[in-house]
Subunit: 180 residues, 2 copies
C-alpha cells in the first residue's frame, strides 16, 4: 500500500524539501490525516532514491551543516499522479481508542465516566479552536488547481470532524446525567 511513499511524493511535488521538512509537515495541518516519524521518513527517502523516483542536492547551512534537499524526478511525479487518480474503496475502520473504550463504558462509574468525557471534550474543543483560527488566516475562495485548494479541503475536513467529535462528547455527557 505504501501510503507514506505517496505522502512524501506529494509533498515533494509542492516543493523540494529535506527529510526534516517532511517531518515538520506531519506536525502541521497534514498531520491531521497522516503522520510519520523521522525514523520512518529517512529510510523511505532512501528507498525512493534507489527506485529512481526522487533525487537530492546537498545544501550547506551555516558553516558545515549538510542538508539533503530532495526533489521529484519524472518517474516519481508519474507514480504520484497515478495514485492520486485511483478510485480507492473507503477504509472501513478509522481506529479510535477512546471510542473503543466507550463501547465498554458500562464498566465505568458514572462520575468517572463524566470526568473522562469532559477531559476529551476539553482537548477536542482546544483542537477545534486552533483549527478555526487557522481557517481565519486561510484563503476563503481558493483557485482550483492551486495548492491552497488542497489546504482548504483538508482544513475544512478537520474542522467538520472535530465539530462532530465535540457534538458527540457533549451529547454523551448529557446522556450520562439523564440516564436511569
Amino acid at each position: 500500500m505504501r501510503t507514506l511513499k505517496y505522502a512524501i511524493l506529494g509533498l515533494l511535488k509542492r516543493k523540494p524539501r529535506t527529510g526534516y521538512d517532511i517531518a515538520k509537515e506531519f506536525k502541521a495541518e497534514l498531520g491531521n490525516f497522516w503522520r510519520a516519524r523521522h525514523s520512518q521518513i529517512y529510510p523511505e527517502l532512501k528507498r525512493l532514491l534507489e527506485e529512481g523516483l526522487i533525487e537530492y542536492e546537498i545544501e550547506i547551512a551555516g558553516e558545515t551543516m549538510e542538508k539533503k534537499v530532495y526533489n521529484l524526478k519524472p518517474a516519481g511525479e508519474k507514480d504520484l499522479i497515478d495514485w492520486l487518480n485511483t478510485d480507492e474503496e473507503m477504509v472501513p475502520t478509522a481506529k479510535d481508542k477512546f471510542r473503543l473504550r466507550m463501547y465498554f463504558a458500562s464498566n465505568i462509574k458514572r462520575e468517572r465516566l463524566i470526568e473522562l468525557l469532559n477531559s476529551q471534550l476539553k482537548q477536542r474543543q482546544d483542537k477545534l479552536a486552533m483549527l478555526e483560527a487557522k481557517m481565519d488566516e486561510q484563503d476563503r475562495d481558493p483557485e482550483f488547481g492551486s495548492k491552497e485548494f488542497g489546504d482548504f479541503l483538508v482544513l475544512e475536513s478537520a474542522i467538520l470532524r472535530e465539530q462532530a467529535y465535540v457534538e458527540w462528547l457533549e451529547r454523551s455527557i448529557r446522556r450520562c446525567y439523564i440516564a436511569k
Copy 2:
C-alpha cells in the same frame, strides 16, 4: 500500548466467546473504531492465556468440532477496569488515506476529482444509511451501566462521524464546481 488486548478483555467481560466470535464483533458496530483479523486475535488470546488473564473451556459443536470458549479471569477483569478508567490523551492523528489524497488535489483534473469525491460520497452515504437503520432498532434510552449504553454511545458516534464526512464531501464537490 496493546489496545487489542483490552478490546478482547472488554468483549469477554460482556460474555464468554471464541476467537471466531471476537473476529465477528470487529466486523459489526465495534468495527467502526477498532478492528483485528483472526491472525492477530488467536496469538493475542494465547498470550492473554499465558498471562493468566483469561481461561477457556472446550465446547463440542456438532459431532467433533472443538470450540475454545474464552472467559475473563479476575486478573483480566482488574486489568480491563484499570485501563477503562485511565484518562488518556487524545491521539493527534486518525489516519485517512482519502483526505491525505485531497491535500494533493491540485494535481487532479477537475472532472476526475469530482468523480473521486462522488465515489466516496456514495460509499459514505450507504454506510450512514446502514448505521441509521441500526439506530432505529436500538434502545433510544439505554440504562446507565447496561451494555446497551455503550452500544448507543458508539453507534451515535459513528453516525455523527459519517454525517460530518458526507457534509464535507458535499461541500467539496460544490466547491469543485464553483472554484475559478
